[in-house]
């Protein structure tokens, strides 16, 4: 830690679309929903850019090609980004590089510093994960290596012990979120009964995985190719493929922490089901008072009421007909 504030060394969550930093993931998600994933017509906040595009196409019949308020080149709506999840890896690395240069710290040094910074509890909760994460990754990598060896040697035993998923790292899924700082060790074998075969991969980020994967390529086991998710350290050989995130609603692999952050709002609740009838906004109104029923929806107050032509006493044609060019003289 030394002279520099360690806070600065740990990257805050940042928005891929506009490269703004945020205090934590929660604020970042709020920002994205307000700035980048909001329907420009009905102000509905969607969970992903693609969700917004589909919403606008289905409900409002318009074609969105660019994510609003995004930096040039960062306005692709087809990338599935939620908070810091889903950011293309090269952009993460690039961003880290730039940020560390900005902070006057060569990447390597920063890495070392992070490695040695140790006690996660000393740093702010949202950022504490980084050094921990490194260690976890290391531990897990070792575990994985060990397991691989074990598998080869005593495959039968492994099958029994790990419920048929030999590749899964022995992280007790239930206990991990409660002890985020505690690296798993081999002395804590997962007594997971085979009856819970594919405890979904959600628990992996439950360890407080940092939003920004660290440039630690050497250690990291191969990342399963999946939809631009940030590199996930454990389980390189995870037998059941990760469930594809449905395009709508994009349920993020939410950690318990994140779910708490999201103020109990079930993720995806703001998404219209894809079966939403196209005329829903209109027909929903037909039940209400007929006149001007759907004209004064929430958006009205956000909108400026500046009319491009606002002279209520005369029409544009009357104004125009008075011009010398058009005036009629007998």
């Amino acid at each position: 830690m030394g002279r520099k504030k360690s806070r600065k060394l740990v990257l805050k969550p940042w928005c891929w679309y506009c490269e703004r930093e945020f205090e934590d993931e929660k604020v970042l998600i709020q920002h994205q929903k307000a700035k980048h994933f909001k329907c420009h017509i009905c102000a509905k906040r969607l969970n992903t850019a693609n969700g917004m595009v589909i919403h606008v196409a289905q409900v409002h019949k318009e074609n969105i090609k660019h994510v609003p308020n995004a930096l040039p080149g960062r306005d692709k709506p087809d990338l599935e980004i939620f908070g810091s999840m889903g950011i293309p890896e090269e952009d993460v690395i690039d961003y880290e590089q730039r940020m560390s240069e900005k902070l006057g710290e060569p990447t390597a040094k920063k890495q070392r510093l992070q490695n040695s910074s140790g006690g996660g509890g000393a740093v702010a909760a949202s950022n504490a994960v980084d050094p921990e994460q490194l260690r976890l990754q290391l531990e897990q990598h070792r575990l994985v290596m060990l397991q691989t060896q074990q598998q080869q040697q005593q495959h039968q035993h492994q099958m029994h012990m790990y419920g048929g998923y030999p590749g899964q790292p022995p992280l007790p899924p239930m206990s991990m979120p409660m002890h985020p700082g505690r690296p798993p060790t081999l002395h804590m074998p997962p007594r997971r009964p085979p009856s819970i075969p594919a405890m979904p991969p959600q628990y992996a980020p439950a360890m407080g995985r940092p939003p920004v994967p660290l440039p630690q390529m050497g250690f990291r086991p191969p990342v399963p190719p999946m939809m631009g998710m940030p590199p996930r350290p454990p389980a390189p050989m995870m037998a059941p493929p990760l469930p594809m995130r449905p395009p709508m609603p994009p349920v993020p692999p939410a950690t318990q922490k994140q779910q708490a952050i999201m103020t109990g709002k079930p993720s995806g609740s703001s998404e219209p089901p894809s079966s939403t009838p196209i005329n829903e906004p209109i027909s929903a109104l037909s039940a209400q008072s007929p006149v001007s029923a759907f004209v004064d929806k929430p958006m009205t107050k956000l909108r400026s009421t500046r009319l491009i032509y606002a002279d209520a006493s005369m029409s544009v044609e009357e104004h125009r007909a008075q011009l010398p060019k058009y005036r009629f003289s007998v």
Partner: protein
């Protein structure tokens, strides 16, 4: 649904020899693919639209001041027009001769043919002199006059329904069985100045557009009045702080009864009022749309691009072209969606 399937329009065709100034009204002959347009350059021009989309200038006649409106007779043989020269003129397409048929004390803003079954055609004119006049095309004087509460801004007729929208948000509804007495005078359901009005194809009501990007769907029959509603349209989607554009033109599709709205935001949108659905939208046509029309069989949609003077001098950019575009109407545009 694939979002990319929207707005995939074959490019619209520009008319040949477009007017030299903004078009005040475009209208198609109900019988043949003849298009007429009145323009601020005083001229009323007529084109024949051929099946391949090319257009041939057929005829033209002029007012002494900007031509503000034009209309075809039901049989497609005559074109009538009104202008800021306070005159109504009519041209017989077969002879190419134009004569004055109407006279007001102010500019004639609206003109329509009123044609009952089996009766000789009558032309209705409404102007900024707060008068509505009926002309039988043979006499110098009108066969009927009606005082309007205000200057006429828009008018549409689908016999026997005739609707005149005036300044100060008044709407005067006439039943052509009794053309000189208003059936009803009402305030517009919209809070802002009326720009355009168009009768439903079923003749049971009308759609009205205002300068504040809003359309009111109004039924005339008291029993159906509660079906009336209004909705916002042509709002700039990108920017909440952007100005609100006006609805310059509404046109009803002759077959499906769906309608289009066009705005000075440079877009036109097709709607189904019964399902309360937006059917299709086409934006960024290159300038404000001042007037629109479907042709007789509803397969062609003409829209006039030109400056509508909504922003005074400063909006009169040379980049805005004065022209008329022809859009091949697709079923996606106008056919009500099956639920």
């Amino acid at each position: 649904m694939d979002p990319n399937q929207f707005n995939q329009v074959s490019p619209d065709v520009e008319i040949s020899q477009p007017p030299s100034d903004s078009v005040s009204e475009v209208t198609f002959s109900p019988k043949a693919n003849f298009l007429a347009a009145s323009s601020w350059d005083n001229e009323v021009r007529i084109w024949e639209i051929q099946s391949n989309g090319t257009s041939v200038g057929k005829a033209a006649f002029s007012h002494q001041a900007p031509a503000l409106c034009c209309a075809w007779s039901q049989d497609g043989t005559k074109i009538a027009s009104g202008g800021a020269d306070k005159a109504g003129r009519m041209m017989d397409v077969s002879t190419g001769q134009s004569v004055q048929i109407a006279q007001h004390d102010g500019a004639i803003r609206c003109i329509k043919f009123v044609e009952a079954e089996g009766a000789s055609p009558i032309v209705a004119t409404a102007g900024w002199d707060k008068m509505l006049k009926y002309w039988d095309l043979r006499q110098q004087s009108p066969i009927g006059t009606v005082n309007l509460p205000e200057r006429a801004y828009a008018m549409d007729c689908n016999n026997p329904l005739l609707v005149v929208a005036t300044a100060e948000r008044k709407i005067v509804i006439f039943d052509m069985t009794n053309p000189t007495t208003p059936f009803e005078t009402v305030d517009s359901p919209l809070k802002w100045q009326t720009r355009t009005v168009s009768c439903f194809t079923k003749k049971d009501g009308y759609a009205i557009g205002s300068i504040e990007g809003r359309v009111g769907i109004q039924y005339v029959d008291p029993k159906q009045k509660e079906k009336s509603f209004s909705f916002k349209c042509h709002r700039d989607p990108k920017d909440l702080a952007s100005p609100v554009y006006s609805v310059n033109s509404i046109a009803h599709h002759p077959g499906y009864g769906t309608f289009s709205t066009a705005s000075n935001d440079g877009s036109f949108v097709f709607w189904d009022k019964d399902a309360r659905q937006k059917l299709n939208a086409h934006s960024n046509v290159g300038g404000p749309i001042t007037s629109t029309a479907f042709n007789g069989d509803g397969k062609l949609f003409a829209y006039a691009i030109g400056y509508d003077w909504a922003q005074g001098y400063k909006g009169n950019l040379s980049s805005i072209k004065n022209t008329i575009m022809l859009h091949a109407v697709t079923e996606q545009d106008v056919k009500p969606k099956v639920k």
